[in-house]
Symmetry: C2
Subunit: 308 residues, 2 copies
């Protein structure tokens, strides 16, 4: 193991009051990204590594604090690429008030693995957004615009370079998502208690919120805040693209009046939309209403819970 | 990215008072371990992942608190191996009062990469061991016994299975090191302010302590607490084996009287030896006294400081 430390064996910082919120995520070459994708730079990779982790803090309504970075890189990598990677990491961290406190650098004979562990804070009095606690009849809201990242990934996997303004926007959403840190804080401070990010797909995240409470959901297809250039292909977008979408938006659930107030506040503080897209129902399962007809979405499972 | 979460996007726990100490370390298959090494199990790999990170907290004198785990594993790995890995991680964590708070699981087409980020606390009033602040004339102390892990690694790299009791002891030190968590706390509480772990080698760690203060060190070869079955081959041990030794012991520097008191306290609390092996000198460079003759050790550099 090659050590990469500031000065000591570990990083030290003063504890904040309140609660600690912590997350770790890895990006694996060949699985989460491919170096041959057009326009993908090491700086963008560094930014993305921070963004996916910042999104987990955002999903809890936390303030980002400190990051630890562990990079496993092939020895053949050019120093310039390593520098660009760090540059992307630190510029994205700084942008969201996060300090890169330490890290570890290892050699590897295989694909690159980039890992970040992020620590944030919930100040005393701010309660987190959680997946548990949803009630039937509550409205479901989602921040921002949907479908872009999935459309961008589709282009990249098909080996296409983006040509139109829309295609460039989609690929940018895939490469360089904006974690909704300010939005998460605003939702939590608006009294919303239930929510999560939709990086594993909107429907899966709604299932994770509804399922444990013994509930289901009805989603209104014509309320979905799809990218304007995806609306023409709406059926595709809601049926397929959104299942595995890597949009880094937040979904939340609360009584309608609470969501309405949060909507106004979010627009004021972040210039970001919060769109009501459906309702939690006592009937289990996720259904989408398309042209007046209810279509059931097959269960996606809650994910992999090896740490239980 | 495959999500592996308890219930939410991130883990939450109540902040302790005092200072936070945090570290991250990855183990890469083919670099840090090889699955074909005799007797290496997935449970031992999990234990080792925790131990190398716990050692970083130990080196600061911190109390372990929470761990986040990110595993990049090939899809072909047997479920039983994954379960054994988690078992090793959680049993080692529990042993040192550490809670596995969350994690991430990714697929990979390449070598396994196992990462742990650990988060510990320095209670109000306990100051950390740091690499900076050493003074000329201070004595150097090291915990435990040296040379075993390097001897064990030597056997493994030579493709040999351990046969004698000594060889089994050496391989065990390599596979399943004991992080000196209690020792680090005791050293810090004995008023020692300067120290680190020697997982990157004893001489390198002494250089990291002496160098920034503009100092050097003289080490007494015949004071080194070598494993008894390595003493016959003493010249090899001090010259080569200890340079890159992966012993997870602690080295520290303080006025002689402070070290003497810490020595007694460490034996009382942990039944662990603290051996005085040398002195910090105003002359730069690391020298070893062997049979009355001073031998200079070439500088190893302080490591890779990409995050500066």
């Amino acid at each position: 193991m090659i050590g990469a430390r500031e000065d000591d064996d570990a990083a030290v910082w003063k504890a904040d009051r309140g609660a600690v919120v912590a997350t770790v995520d890895s990006m694996v070459e060949g699985i989460d990204f491919r170096l041959e994708w057009p326009g993908l730079t090491f700086r963008l990779l560094g930014r993305r590594l921070m963004s996916v982790n910042l999104s987990d803090l955002a999903a809890m309504g936390a303030d980002p604090g400190h990051a630890l970075i562990s990079l496993c890189l092939p020895g053949s990598l050019a120093l310039r690429d390593v520098t660009d990677l760090y540059r992307g990491i630190s510029e994205r961290a700084r942008q969201y008030g996060c300090t890169v406190a330490g890290g570890d650098l290892s050699g590897t004979d295989g694909p690159m693995v980039l890992t970040a562990a992020l620590y944030g804070t919930l100040p005393t009095g701010r309660r987190p957004l959680r997946r548990s606690g949803a009630r039937a009849g509550w409205a479901l809201g989602v921040t921002g615009v949907l479908g872009r990242a999935a459309a961008g990934l589709g282009l990249l996997l098909a080996g296409k370079s983006p040509r139109t303004a829309a295609e460039r926007r989609w690929v940018r959403s895939q490469y360089d998502p904006s974690p909704r840190v300010g939005a998460g804080q605003t939702l939590a401070e608006s009294g919303i208690r239930v929510g999560g990010d939709i990086s594993d797909g909107l429907y899966r995240e709604i299932e994770r919120i509804a399922g444990p409470a013994g509930l289901g959901a009805t989603i209104e297809a014509d309320q979905m805040p799809l990218d304007r250039d995806l609306r023409r292909d709406r059926d595709h977008a809601w049926a397929g693209g959104l299942m595995e979408s890597e949009d880094y938006e937040l979904v939340c659930a609360a009584p309608r009046a609470v969501l309405d107030a949060a909507q106004r506040r979010l627009w004021r503080t972040e210039r970001l939309t919060l769109t009501i897209i459906g309702t939690l129902t006592p009937e289990k399962g996720i259904r989408i209403r398309v042209d007046g007809r209810l279509v059931s979405i097959p269960s996606l499972g809650a994910g992999y819970d090896h740490f239980r």
